[in-house]
């Protein structure tokens, strides 16, 4: 489903070029859940952003569902984000001016494939049915993350990316959020890649990849 080959990325920082990714290659199959671990600064988030079309690689090939997605312009990348990719960040995922219902539907509607029944089902399963008219700032952290997951899944993405989705949550809530993520990713058959610090969470995934100084160990 997702295949990346020899990804390089460097940033200008304080006048010097810092190489963050130095030839990373990986594959994630449809329905597979892969954990991406590594120390701080190892390039986990950068890799995730590049795979999620949020940022562009300097070099390397990326194929998503048989489509080359490296070297695309911002417009094409934006379309891919809309249609094929779902992202869950650690925090501030939601659009503060929209209520839960609108947030949940937002990406699907952007992509032009809103499915009211599926969305209602998702809200039910995420335990959000009671909160549909609330605004993000009125929700707890766990609820916010569940809205973010719901929004990503509602779009039936080919690729589901999560960047420390439970980083700000307590252990119990984190477990339940992770359960939901895994369950929904499997159910929709999305290729699921999650950045995490937690070895326990990583262990629950199908496979673990570890980044060390810009390379996969």
């Amino acid at each position: 489903m997702l295949s990346a080959r020899d990804i390089h990325k460097s940033y200008a920082s304080g006048g010097a070029q810092v190489s963050v990714l130095r030839g990373v290659s990986l594959e994630v199959a449809r329905g597979e859940a892969v954990a991406l671990t590594g120390e701080s600064g190892s390039g986990k988030s950068t890799l995730l952003h590049i795979l999620g079309c949020l940022d562009a690689a300097d070099r390397g090939e990326i194929t998503l569902a048989d489509q080359r997605i490296d070297g695309l312009g911002e417009a094409a990348r934006a379309e891919l984000r809309r249609r094929r990719i779902g992202v869950v960040f650690q925090s501030l995922n939601l659009i503060p001016s929209l209520d839960v219902r609108q947030n949940l539907a937002f990406q699907a509607r952007l992509a032009g494939r809103a499915d009211a029944a599926w969305q209602a089902d998702l809200a039910e399963r995420l335990g959000l049915s009671e909160h549909l008219d609330r605004y993000p700032e009125e929700l707890s952290g766990g609820q916010q993350q569940r809205v973010a997951i719901g929004r990503a899944i509602a779009n039936r993405p080919a690729l589901l990316l999560a960047d420390e989705p439970t980083g700000n949550l307590d252990e119990e809530t984190a477990e339940r959020v992770l359960d939901l993520l895994l369950e929904l990713a499997r159910e929709t058959g999305a290729a699921f890649l999650m950045v995490t610090h937690s070895a326990r969470h990583a262990a629950r995934m199908d496979r673990q990849l570890t980044l060390e100084q810009g390379r996969l160990a």
Binding site: G41, D55, V87, F89, L94, S97, Q107, L110
Partner: protein
């Protein structure tokens, strides 16, 4: 510690030069507009005091004679104990310029006849009485006359109007080539125990004209300017407030760190207050310079307006008054204090360990909004109540203030309601988000939007008032000044001569004579008019009984002006006692703009019978309009009449139109400035918000909306808010205009102007508002679209 603290605080400005610029520019603009308007007002008022000296002479009673008056008559009356003083007036052609000469006797002249120009100037007095004589003239006139031949030495005095010269009676006679006096002027106080001079002499007694209360007439104009100045200042403070607010918010972390490192709170507050003061001083100084430039640029226009509208000669040159500069600086400091007090207060109450919440300050809670809406409603109700039931000028202005503040406070709740109402129209998630986001941005942008609302409604209100005034006034002038030439002779003899001279060239000579009397306890002028088509066909009657002109001619009725009518609450048919023996019913009411006092019109014969033996010095000439300028010139040259004594109505109309263009120019310039300041307020607010908005925009972007699209949406949002503000500004502006025309004018002057609407102007203004808003958001938006992805991603970044 203080130095370390200061350098930590200042580092912020080094890293955010734009904010510093916004803060300084905002305060400077606010100060500039305020102080500029103040300078204009002060200069104009000083000019009135000078002009009052000139005009004052017309307010003193005088004696004139058919046979001409001379020294013998002066001496005779002085020896009889009366305080009279000789006056010689005439015009002199010097190097192609007309110079009005006024000869006085400084030894016997009462105050108001030119003595102010002599006060404090020993040499002037000595020169006046010397053999060579001396001409006291305005500095401008002195420059224009320098090098002219055949004149006595010139001496400048700021207390003389332009184009006038005050000199000794002897010098005046010599220059004008006359041996007689124009008049004997009476001191306002006559000695104890003498019979009234009016009865003691056979000379014609001419009452002083009391209508020239310049200060009162011009007050409304200054009120306009002051209101504009205040408005601009308020608008400028919005900018300062937002810039200071932002700077404080962004330095929260710094403050917290400084305090954590052991700086006492009091010290921190003092440092911040000191910093604010320093910035205010810098901005205030710049503002003063800018204000001076604004005033200097606008003053010629103001001078033109006042000269034409009220006959007040205002010098077009600005003098620098240190007191003005100091007060402007004080206003800048006060403004900065006002704007910064809230920020300082928040810093003082900031808990040491609370997490940073940079977004919170920009959002107002729903409760605040509700309270604001309630207060706005209360103010608007108060305003309406005052409009309906209030009496007096002060309440009229209170009504205006309540209207404007109420409208400004009502703006945020109304905008939110409007955006909510628009929601069903949204198609697609992005539009939906746009409206929702705009709604959420209203509290943060409310100050800037209020500034815009005030600027727009002031624009509409003042524009409507000035436009209504112009339309009505020019129409009225056409009616009122139907005759071609209006003439006031200085002596009965001159009047006779001019009539004889003009008769062959005129179709009709209509006498206009007037007496000053008391009607309902108020000094009122009574005019006698001839029965002529000029009046029948043209006179601007507001309401009239049938056959009004016949009744006037038959001595069976009289006309009153609108002022008297409104003040006394009169109705057609009500009797008015003109003299002990003469009481006539009101047969009609006419509009009489520009005149604060009451006025009556009766038939010429009626007036004659009621006040026999009055000098007849004024009359109107009817002749083909194209011949009027030539005849006017001939009369002026032949009789040396002062400019004010012979009026060509075509000139008056042309002048009036020019005046209104000037008024438009001044108000237009101030309008543009306030609009500009409001635009700047929007810009600073948007810049303030642009960093804070990233968390709101980043998710949208991450979900697949391109930065260009986001930028376009940002522009659309700002334009939407500006457009909605404009929609609200139109009724507020019209309400403002209505209060100005129907309440303030009536209270201040006794006349009411019909309100005219100029929808095309509103549309243009709307476009201007959109343009200003678009300009204001352009830069923040461009910055947004150029943001590198990692700036946006940082919002979500785990690795910090």
């Amino acid at each position: 510690m203080t130095r370390a603290g200061l350098s930590a605080l200042f580092a912020h400005w080094r890293r955010h030069p734009l904010q510093l610029a916004a803060l300084l520019l905002g305060l400077a603009l606010a100060t500039a507009l305020w102080s500029g308007v103040q300078a204009i007002n002060a200069e104009a008022r000083a000019s009135y005091d000078r002009a009052a000296e000139t005009l004052g002479q017309g307010a003193l009673d005088r004696l004139v004679s058919d046979r001409g008056l001379g020294m013998a008559e002066f001496t005779e009356l002085r020896r009889a104990g009366y305080r009279v003083t000789p006056l010689v007036e005439g015009r002199l052609e010097v190097g192609g310029r007309r110079l009005s000469i006024r000869g006085i006797d400084p030894l016997t002249a009462p105050p108001g006849l030119g003595t102010l120009a002599i006060a404090g100037d020993e040499e002037a007095l000595d020169g006046l009485l010397s053999e060579a004589g001396l001409l006291l003239v305005a500095p401008e006139t002195a420059r224009a006359l320098s090098g002219a031949e055949g004149l006595p030495p010139l001496r400048s005095s700021a207390n003389i109007a332009q184009g006038e010269a005050v000199t000794d009676v002897v010098t005046a006679q010599r220059l004008l080539g006359v041996e007689t006096l124009t008049a004997l002027v009476l001191a306002p106080e006559q000695p104890f125990g003498l019979p009234p001079l009016r009865e003691a002499t056979e000379f014609a007694y001419v009452e002083g004209q009391s209508g020239g209360d310049l200060t009162r007439l011009t007050e409304s104009f200054h009120l306009n300017l002051t209101a504009f100045g205040l408005l601009s200042f308020a608008v400028g403070l919005f900018i300062v407030q937002s810039a200071i607010g932002l700077a404080f918010e962004q330095r929260r972390q710094t403050f917290r760190t400084l305090r954590a490192l052991g700086m006492p709170l009091a010290r921190l507050i003092w440092l911040l207050a000191g910093e604010l003061t320093g910035l205010a001083l810098v901005a205030g100084t710049a503002g003063i310079a800018l204000g001076y430039v604004i005033a200097a640029a606008l003053l010629p226009g103001v001078a033109g307006t006042l000269r034409g509208l009220y006959g007040a000669d205002v010098s077009g040159q600005l003098t620098f008054d240190p007191l003005w500069a100091v007060s402007a600086l004080a206003i800048a400091l006060a403004g900065a204090g006002l704007a910064g007090a809230q920020a300082l207060w928040r810093v003082a109450r900031m808990p040491l360990l609370a997490p940073a919440q940079p977004r919170a300050w920009a959002m107002a809670s729903a409760r605040t909004l509700k309270a604001q809406g309630a207060l706005a409603g209360l103010l608007l109700l108060t305003s309406a109540g005052l409009a309906l039931f209030g009496q007096g000028l002060v309440l009229a202005f209170a009504c205006l203030a309540a209207l404007l503040i109420g409208a400004a406070l009502a703006l945020p709740p109304l905008l939110i309601a409007a955006l909510r109402a628009l929601r069903p129209l949204a198609r697609g998630p992005v539009t939906e988000w746009l409206l929702a986001d705009a709604r959420q941005q209203v509290p943060a942008l409310s100050l800037a939007l209020m500034a815009l609302l005030l600027a727009l409604s002031a624009n509409i209100g003042v524009g409507t008032m000035v436009g209504s005034f112009r339309t009505t006034f020019t129409g009225w002038l056409d009616q009122r000044l139907a005759a071609e030439l209006y003439l006031t002779a200085r002596t009965p003899e001159e009047a006779r001569e001019i009539r004889a001279f003009a008769a062959p060239q005129s179709d009709a000579i209509l006498p206009i004579w007037s007496v000053e009397t008391q009607i309902k306890g108020q000094p009122t002028q009574v005019f006698g008019v001839a029965d002529h088509a000029t009046y029948r066909e043209n006179w601007p009657l507001l309401s009239a009984a049938p056959g009004v002109w016949d009744r006037l001619a038959a001595g069976e009725g009289l006309l009153i002006n609108e002022q008297l009518w409104r003040r006394e609450g009169l109705a057609l048919g009500d009797p008015i006692r003109v003299t002990k023996g003469l009481s006539l019913p009101v047969a009609g009411v006419y509009s009489d703009y520009g005149n604060p006092a009451g006025q009556l019109m009766v038939g010429a014969r009626t007036l004659d019978a009621a006040f026999p033996g009055r000098p007849r010095l004024r009359f109107a000439l009817r002749l083909p309009p194209e011949e009027a300028p030539a005849l006017a010139r001939e009369i002026r040259d032949r009789f040396g009449l002062p400019a004010g004594n012979l009026v060509n109505q075509a000139e008056v109309k042309a002048l009036s139109l020019r005046v209104f263009e000037q008024t438009f120019l001044v108000t237009g310039a101030l309008n543009a400035l306030t609009l500009g300041v409001a635009g700047f307020a929007i810009l600073t607010s948007l810049l303030t918000l642009s960093t804070l908005r990233l968390p709101q925009l980043a998710p949208i972007w991450a979900l697949g909306v391109r930065p260009q699209r986001l930028g376009a949406l940002e522009v659309a949002r700002t334009l939407l808010l500006a457009a909605l503000t404009w929609v609200l500004a139109v009724p507020v502006g019209l309400a403002l205009a209505w209060v100005l025309l129907a309440i303030v004018n009536v209270e201040a002057f006794g006349w009411r102007l019909p309100m005219r609407l100029f929808p095309a102007d509103w549309l243009w203004l709307g476009l201007a508002a959109l343009g200003a808003a678009a300009l204001a958001c352009l830069w923040p938006v461009i910055r947004l679209t150029r943001l590198p992805p990692n700036r946006l991603l940082r919002v979500f970044a785990n690795e910090r």
